[in-house]
Chain length 204, copies 2
């Protein structure tokens, strides 16, 4: 599929039917990724579970990696939209840390799926050339949520860079939590600490 993937980038859904098919594919991926190890998930099974033709699946997502990397983005965006909390008495920086810890707890409810999404995202992030539309640091939901929580409406390069460093720390803590090297309590402590160290100069 390498050649097809190069010639035809992943389709951006436009019509209601396209949005529905893309949603069905991502929901099927969330189910299959929770049931079986990433290496054992097959594109054919994914198409069957989603109720779409295999050719349709490949038109939306040229590789399994892109399916699971996109699902990771979507799950983060959904968390940010539905559950990310604005600052209250605890201050903006502490709230960023607590929100990141809550995001990790949500993702870790299915460790197998979380591992699949992390592996796919890392592979997509390392690939050359990187897939379009994946993990655009300046536009990702997580970066935006961090900057919003800090009250930064017109971020400069230093603000984006700080948010990016914090996201790297978050990624490391999530990976460590997945192998149970890090307890949920320590993960929250580390994330609040990372936020306070990295974001200290970025409250507007």
């Amino acid at each position: 599929m390498g050649r097809i993937a190069q010639q035809r980038p992943a389709a951006t859904p436009a019509s209601a039917g396209q949005v529905a098919r893309r949603g069905a594919i991502l929901r099927a991926a969330a189910e299959l990724g929770a049931e079986a190890e990433f290496d054992r998930v097959q594109m054919a099974d994914l198409a069957t579970r989603a109720g779409v033709a295999l050719g349709t699946l490949y038109r939306y997502f040229p590789t399994k990696t892109e399916v699971f990397a996109t699902l990771f983005q979507e799950q983060i965006a959904t968390f940010v939209a539905d559950r990310w909390q604005p600052p209250e008495g605890d201050g903006a920086v502490e709230r960023v840390g607590r929100n990141l810890a809550a995001l990790n707890a949500t993702l870790l409810r299915s460790p197998r799926l979380c591992s699949a999404m992390l592996r796919a995202t890392a592979a997509a992030y390392m690939s050359q050339p990187p897939p379009e539309q994946l993990w655009l640091e300046s536009e990702s939901a997580l970066t935006q949520a961090i900057l919003d929580t800090l009250g930064i409406e017109q971020p400069g390069p230093d603000d984006h860079s700080a948010a990016l460093l914090l996201i790297y720390s978050w990624w490391g803590v999530l990976t460590s939590s997945l192998s149970r090297r890090m307890s949920p309590e320590r993960a929250e402590h580390e994330l609040c600490r990372a936020a306070s160290l990295i974001l200290a100069d970025h409250i507007h």
Copy 2:
């Protein structure tokens, strides 16, 4: 090999012959990982290149993941021993950032091998239970080098935690550099910035 891997943990080399065989395996992995994508490297080819029997290879490293994760540790340890610079006029924190940037430049000389080692390390780090002897945060060469450069002789939990957060940032910058999302100049800037933010309170 899963069952064998569980029953028999990777052998720790003791005799001179064992050290030589382990070294030959890791050198062969460095060559093969630079020549072919990680997915195409086979344990049988690795044994042939190293001049050891396949059973010997499996006795030292039960999986390909452990070979390349160990190689990553070794390459970092070699850099730390041979090329990590102590602080001079630029100050300890800045020197940590510059050393991390130099480490990345060294690892990125072979992007394919670097990608293989990153993938293997991430997979080893996420696996349950995590392999013994891999990436022991408190004992890794990189953590020790960071703490030494800061002049911290008896690190407390907060010192270890700061070093760990900086290593997460370093990992993220290395991954971004691999896909050429981040230029070498920006990588060095981000690493010096990460060091100054995260280590600010940790100079003894």
